[in-house]
Symmetry: C2
Subunit: 378 residues, 2 copies
């Protein structure tokens, strides 16, 4: 896209580099869907300077050797900074915790997934929640009653838990109650549950609308907005599939989202549904706090607050050539992204090569993890 | 059965009247399976002098009029004392609590049942847990993660919760942890999960073995015994069906249990797996405490501790003419039952007529609910 048409109405705001804590890179194992290079290009184009990569790859990241393998691929291909999740499984309860210092976090799949990582038995959850260091984050895909069950279990063990992609009224309300009672629970919400609902399934088509958690009712959607203060984190759950797959008889669940999340959130700011403070808190500060992420030096995103555009049929950099948000009119666009002093993205062009991205868990841990008071002027 | 063969080895122990907090009477709606008369005859023959009747009848007991209907039937037909549960539904969140003083307790079905009483949404659970008086019991059929979720929700609302028919290792262990952290949770376990497991399915036959919770693994079974101190209550979940139904293509889940629970538990005492104190605590004292049940005056059960017998293909008084415990050799039998001064059962004969039983929630609430220190000598 070109910005010439909006040159006269420029309203550029400098924001911190955004952090997406929930990204399915698809490498290793399904690089026709996405790989570190395409995924991190899409991230940068979306104003995201750090991604946390999910472990349900092929092979899944569940031990040192699979971690080393994925890590080597990321090192040569990632354009933005990153960290890699470790996946909890029934088979690695006694061993996975040794990887905690290198990991973005531990990911627990408590509902059905398309990998071997589903854990059906609460005694297995308990072992993982016990063994993973308390100061390191644990994230759970835990829908409906599983939200309640895993919060109870974490609280019985007196450890924090982060709930992925909250989508339903019953989920956000039990998290709200748990927070009010002082339990150490945090949560994230994805754009598909904030901006889409079952009401959108007819125009999306049933197959393309497949996603986990499913698109929920307009009542669920409204409840997320009503409890926006309960939401700690915005994250994409970027889950790219090919258009052919999404149009097939058995469409796999998942939406791409890296290039659209920030414009959609800026548009919500434009409409007065969010403040810029909310945006920075939930898409930069809280991810840093919850996941113990370092500040990226000289890193910021310049956004054009007044640029109006319509989300196209597909975005530029992800290999997933469709988007469920196609046709939405939004106000707000990414203008330029600076990552560790380098211009990484500007005006539709990604300028940093594969390999520029760094694994932030390889950075030396600063003695004192201070954080600028006002990220806006970083 | 006759006791002549054991007259020489009589070892009669006088125990309090036992209380079964989980009984499906099947009346109204399915009196060919069981009715108040046959059910309470079976109870007395089993040494049980009070039953709490489940609300998933037809019509279900969910409001004043259905309660009045079931209550009128019970009044003319019950031979032992009783109280009636109210069923929680998605439709009665705002009204059912008014019935609390008359009810045995509120029953919440959080898993699939064969009635309209299943509640799929945690926001509905929350309303019921909020509205039902905190001093009155709430019981939940809440398997697996639902155990955790409902314990969390009750604890967030600072109210007690009773978990029905705990069957699995993961369930008893999370209840154990919750109790250790001081949460107000109690639980019951049924004979089918203490004395049967998946190892028994081949000889029972798949259809007859159908029950909810299902028969679990020998490991689950062993964990219940290992954590016998975590179990507050023994209850049958007496769920009679006709032999034809159990042998049919679609066998309904459920076992009869009123006439076999006490012999099975006495046999466990005989084998040293339980103490008499455990038996009295979990089958009389704790049910009274958890459900605020009055002491039945002049009520006791005389058991023959040394009588050895084999459980037959079907028991005498239930209409459900089969038992999953057939063929088991047990030591211990009910000799005589005295209910409010009347000999209600002796040596195979039920001596009190339908209508002798009373709804204990109609009794005046005593000023001071004292309880004899030693029930054995009541
Ligand atoms: Zn997920
Ligand atoms: Zn995901
Ligand atoms: Zn621009
Ligand atoms: Zn910052
Ligand atoms: Zn049940
Ligand atoms: Zn039942
Ligand atoms: Zn006898
Ligand atoms: Zn007593």
């Amino acid at each position: 896209k070109t910005h010439t048409d909006c040159m006269t109405s420029r309203n550029i705001l400098k924001l911190p580099g955004f952090i997406d804590v929930h990204v399915h890179v698809r490498e290793p194992g399904a690089t026709y869907k996405e790989d570190f290079s395409s995924c991190t290009a899409a991230a940068l184009a979306g104003g995201i300077t750090m991604i946390l990569a999910m472990p349900n790859t092929n092979p899944p990241v569940v031990d040192r050797s699979s971690y080393d393998y994925a890590s080597a691929l990321a090192r040569v291909s990632a354009r933005c900074d990153y960290a890699l999740y470790m996946g909890a499984a029934t088979t690695n309860t006694d061993t996975v915790a040794e990887m905690a210092p290198q990991a973005a976090a531990l990911k627990m799949y408590l509902n059905q997934t398309f990998t071997t990582l589903t854990m059906d038995d609460m005694t297995v959850w308990q072992k993982h929640l016990q063994n993973w260091p308390k100061k390191m984050p644990v994230c759970a895909h835990a829908e409906r009653e599983k939200t309640g069950a895993v919060i109870l279990m974490a609280s019985l063990l007196d450890r924090p838990i982060h709930i992925c992609h909250v989508a339903r009224k019953e989920e956000i309300l039990i998290i709200k109650s748990a927070k009010e009672r002082g339990l150490k629970v945090t949560c994230e919400v994805c754009p598909q549950h904030l901006f889409l609902s079952t009401a959108d399934i007819p125009h999306l088509g049933e197959g393309r609308a497949e996603v986990r958690p499913v698109l929920c009712s307009p009542e669920d959607q409204a409840e997320l907005w009503k409890n926006i203060d309960v939401i700690d984190v915005f994250a994409t759950d970027h889950a790219p599939h090919s258009v052919e797959e999404k149009n097939s008889e058995k469409p796999p669940p998942g939406f791409p989202g890296l290039e659209t999340i920030l414009p959609l959130l800026l548009n919500a700011v434009h409409k007065g549904r969010l403040t810029i403070e909310d945006l920075i808190n939930k898409f930069h500060r809280n991810p840093r706090k919850i996941f113990n992420l370092p500040e990226q030096p000289n890193t910021y995103v310049e956004v054009d607050m007044d640029y109006e555009w319509t989300i196209p049929q597909a975005m530029e950099f992800t290999k997933s050539k469709w988007t469920p948000f196609a046709g939405m009119q939004v106000c707000g666009a990414v203008h330029r992204v600076t990552l560790r002093g380098e211009i990484a993205y500007v005006e539709g062009q990604v300028l940093v090569p594969p390999g520029f991205g760094q694994n932030i868990r390889d950075w030396p841990v600063p003695k004192k993890q201070t954080h600028p008071l006002i990220d806006k002027i970083e």
